[in-house]
Amino acid sequence: MMVDGAKVADDVEPRTLLVQYLREKLGKTGTVVGCDTSNCGACTVHLDGTSVKSCNVLAVQADGGEVKTIEGLATDGVLHPVQEAFRDCHGLQCGYCTPGMIMQSVALLEENPTPSEAEIREGLEGNLCRCTGYQNIVRAVKQASGQTEGVTA
């Protein structure tokens, strides 16, 4: 499969989850595990252009596919607009949910480039954050969509 633009190949146990493969075999530790019931979304990556919870996909299911993780989001050192907006709007504190939250936000904006606040809130419902109360995350997504200026504290 392709992961963040690089071709990789390994033999894995059939039960290996995609997130385990990314973290343990490829060292892509930017993607993290936050739960064991696919509720938290911390492990969200893109598989063939769609956001998936990588704890809910077997590595073998991604065979031949294209995976993008948080580590492959910036191009040539230039942050993706969603990454930039998360920093600018203080959309993260401890940062543990952030990789999944950003990947989900990117997917959300690809589907709906100008979401309303309600659409953003519904679109991120599958990703839990315990620090921010979501308010600045929602602002970040709105800002990344070009609909608003940055947050003024």
């Binding site: 973290r23 993607t31 401890c94 543990y96 952030t98 315990r130 620090c131 504290a153």
Partner: protein, 823 residues
């Protein structure tokens, strides 16, 4: 000698909404969570945990697990003996506190479901977990003490050998302490010619639920044994390991790398850390343990869990005359690191911002066969704030006075500060009038009250309620003398070091180890201003006991107000050390040297040197005053003289559907006074995140146990963390009354939102349906509970039993959970 430019960017850093230094790594996935760490030859642990709340272990068969492929060993308490160490309670709240011995791994009896009985070591995590399934443990079930009130009556013993579940009784009495009058006399008088309000509130059990599951790695291969842990308290952890394992403190290095949230939940020394430490040493190999979320929810400590009986005495005009508080606090199965002390922290806060002439606080801590409890965001103060703010609104309702007016009648006026409270604390500053006036205006209080009245008169099925919380809290833990007087096992100081590097950069070492708060950014702003250097030239180091050798870590909203003050003192020492050097180089006398905006100058001349130039001169040491030590580096350890007291006014408007019990928040306004603000962007994040945790206690979260003592809400499917779709935008603002207990004029902010919001939210739900005869709804205020309260009108809210989740069948689940009535 030059007349170099001052710092080119002269705008003050303090008060600026700097974007965080921490974020570049976190948004690109370049992170160092403990579970990311992989070392050569590393082994992995999996725990075998008891499924029973209380049982005798009659046999453990590890043979099948030991025979599994790539399993290195399987260990029980018998195998490890004393080498596993013991977990400490650092705060025995009374001399005669009953404290069960807390082994990392149970030997012959388990006392909560989730307790570790065996540990498997294997070459991979998956193989360790597979083999853990093969360990065969025989249990003989024992009756479990689960219900807090029944446990307090010693009906069933959580630890039979102790003979009682009652751990400690702690009292504060204002008459005895000389800080106020006799509370019983005040209540008696009010019974004859005043008003007495008696209420019993339930603080349900919560789970901190930090997003990063706990993880520990121990590498025994160096001269020092290194432990990485997802902890809030690397320094306390190191001390406790040394104190209980016999390994010298100097041979232990603890590192808290990137830590993904804590909220008090990682203010703990854990069985998992002790077992990882023990097994790495025993096997001579690096060992890692990372918990699953399901393990985290059942075995990381829980928070809150109290019954609160409040008796408030007042005159008929609403002037309060006395407050008596009787608490039952559930410790769970062991007295954890600070467990028994958490409710005691609330003792000083029930009287809140009000001028009670008489006050008594009684607290009984109780052992049960549930997961042990300890600090959760606010730790004792949210519980106190909930009790007092709810009962003040009850008093207002009883005498027919607007709840804002009632509070105003009783609170400390701004001109009365400093004010010594009936609990014996000296509040340094505050202005409750200003914060409240601003909040009322932002909220549109009068219009919303008018709308509420219209809807009541029209008999709308959806009613409007307004909840109020005019809170204060004590933060900045803590003056060491105060902690000593409370029998706490450590001090409350904090340490900082400032190092001036030869290249003009500045390294700042703090003992307050962050886990998401943004210390690196805020502390850089402080140092940039004090030393007149660029924000980007300051590097903040923390979280490694070999780098930050002294510290007492991050909790209790202490980092800025205690750790920040230590930083101020260390920078002042740097400046004082640099002055003689500047005088020498500028050929002036020290008395004539002035320091401003990063520049030492000779009074009355245009001659001067930048601090970087002094640092460089000290580095080369070619031309220093005779006998001068060639170093500007400075250290300071600061012990606070007092707590500080943030306050604020929170207002919540809630719509309640009287036919379905569904609640919908319409507006939430808060105006907090946290003194001077270092970084408003970080503050907004702390307040918003704090609010949501407090609102979640009011509406969604609860750790629910069934009648066998099994945690039913044991995964994120059942333990309801709020999502982006459950929350909304909260309107936050500030008034500013600087604290005078620290140089920067700051107050803590990390816990304020959580402390303040819960009573405002529950108060708004109750206010919406008070006319239907409801005066309480037990938290969390699920639609089911609200609906039942409406149906049972007149009884003050019926027994709200059953699971927190509306999808449980109430008839079946009702036997489980939260011990009864919400009345």
């Amino acid at each position: 000698m030059t007349t170099l430019e001052d710092r080119p960017d002269v705008a003050p850093e303090i008060g600026r909404d700097r974007r965080r230094k921490e974020d570049q790594r976190l948004i690109t996935g370049r992170t160092r969570w403990t579970d990311n760490i992989t070392l050569p030859g590393m082994l992995h642990l999996a725990m075998v945990r008891s499924p029973f709340a209380h049982a005798r272990i009659t046999g453990i068969d590890t043979s099948e697990a030991k025979a599994a492929t790539n399993v290195v060993g399987v260990f029980t308490a018998a195998d490890l003996g004393e080498s596993q160490g013991v977990l400490i309670n650092a705060w025995a709240i009374t001399e005669d506190q009953v404290t069960p011995t807390h082994l990392p791994m149970a030997a012959d009896r388990v006392s909560f479901a989730g307790e570790i009985v065996a540990v498997v070591v294997a070459r991979t995590q998956a193989e360790a977990r597979d083999a853990a399934e093969l360990v065969d443990v025989d249990y003989e079930e024992l009756p479990a003490a689960l219900d807090l009130k029944k446990a307090a009556a010693d009906e069933v013993l959580a630890h039979p050998e102790l003979g009682t579940n009652k751990s400690a009784f702690w009292q504060f009495d204002s008459e005895g302490a000389g800080t106020g009058g006799n509370v019983e006399a005040a209540i008696e008088k009010a019974r004859t010619d005043g008003v007495v309000i008696e209420r019993e509130f339930r603080q349900q059990r919560l789970i901190p639920a930090f997003m990063e599951p706990r993880s520990t790695v121990v590498d025994p291969s160096g001269e020092q044994i290194t432990m990485w842990s997802a902890t809030q308290i690397p320094h306390i952890l190191r001390f406790a390991l040394a104190a209980t394992t016999g390994v010298p403190e100097s041979k232990i290095r603890v590192i808290a790398p990137d830590v993904g949230g804590g909220f008090g939940g990682k203010l703990q020394t854990t069985p998992e850390e002790w077992l990882t430490f023990c097994l790495a040493n025993r096997l001579g190999k690096p060992v890692k343990y990372t918990e699953t979320r399901s393990e985290s929810l059942v075995s990381a400590h829980h928070g809150r869990d109290q019954w609160q009986k409040l008796t408030l005495a007042a005159e008929k005009d609403g002037t309060v005359t006395g407050l008596k508080v009787d608490l039952l606090a559930d410790l769970g199965s062991y007295v954890s690191l600070v467990g028994g002390g958490v409710p005691v922290l609330g003792a000083f806060m029930f009287n809140a911002i009000y001028k009670f002439p008489a006050y008594q606080f009684n607290c009984q801590t109780v052992l049960t066969n549930k997961t042990w409890t300890d600090a959760y965001r606010g730790a004792g103060r949210p519980e106190a704030t909930y009790g007092i703010e709810r009962i003040m609104s009850e008093l207002a309702a009883e005498i027919g006075m607007d709840p804002i007016e009632l509070r105003e009648k009783n609170w400390i006026k701004h001109e009365e500060f400093p004010f010594t409270t009936v609990a014996g604390l000296e509040y340094d500053t505050g202005n409750y009038e200003a914060a409240t006036a601003k909040a009322l205006e932002m909220f549109g209080y009068d219009e919303l009250r008018a709308e509420q009245k219209r809807r009541r008169e029209a008999g709308d099925t959806v009613q409007l309620g307004i909840g109020i919380s005019t809170f204060t809290e004590m933060c900045g833990l803590a003056p060491s003398r105060v902690l000593g007087s409370l029998n706490y096992g450590a001090g409350g100081w904090e340490s900082a070091t400032v190092r001036m590097l030869a290249t003009g950069k500045v390294e700042v070492v703090t003992g307050a180890s962050a886990h998401g708060q943004g210390h690196e950014t805020a502390f850089s702003q402080i140092v940039a201003d004090r030393l007149g250097v660029s924000f980007d030239d300051v590097e903040v180091l923390h979280g490694d006991t070999q780098i930050a050798s002294k510290g007492l870590d991050t909790y209790g909203s202490r980092s800025l107000v205690v750790g920040g003050e230590a930083l101020v003192k260390a920078t002042d020492k740097v400046i004082e050390k640099a002055k003689p050097v500047a005088a020498h180089l500028l050929e002036a006398s020290v008395e004539d040297i002035e320091f401003s905006a990063g520049r030492f100058s000779v009074r009355g001349t245009d001659q001067g040197l930048a601090i970087g130039e002094i640092a460089s001169a000290v580095f080369t040491a070619h031309n220093l005053p005779d006998g001068m030590e060639p170093s500007l580096d400075s250290e300071a350890t600061y012990d606070p003289i007092n707590f500080n007291y943030p306050h604020g006014t929170h207002l919540c408007a809630m719509e309640v559907d009287t036919e379905t019990g569904a609640v919908k928040m319409r507006k939430y306004v808060c105006v907090d006074d946290i003194g001077n603000v270092i970084n408003p962007l970080i503050v907004s994040g702390q307040v918003q995140g704090g609010l949501v945790q407090g609102i979640a206690q009011a509406l969604w979260e609860e750790a629910v146990y069934d009648e066998a003592g099994t945690l039913v809400s044991g995964s994120f499917v059942d333990y309801l963390l709020p999502t982006s779709a459950d929350t909304m935008n909260y309107e936050i603002d500030h008034t500013t009354t600087p604290s005078i207990t620290n140089t920067l004029g700051t107050k803590g902010v990390g816990e304020a939102g959580t402390i303040a919001s819960t009573p405002a939210v529950v108060g708004s739900v109750v206010d919406a349906i008070r006319h239907l005869g409801v005066n309480d709804i037990q938290m969390p205020c699920t639609p089911e509970r609200v609906w039942k309260a409406i149906q049972g009108a007149g009884t003050g809210g019926p027994a709200t039993e059953g699971a927190a989740m509306p999808h449980f069948d109430t008839d079946e689940a009702g036997t489980a959970s939260t011990e009864g009535a919400g009345a």
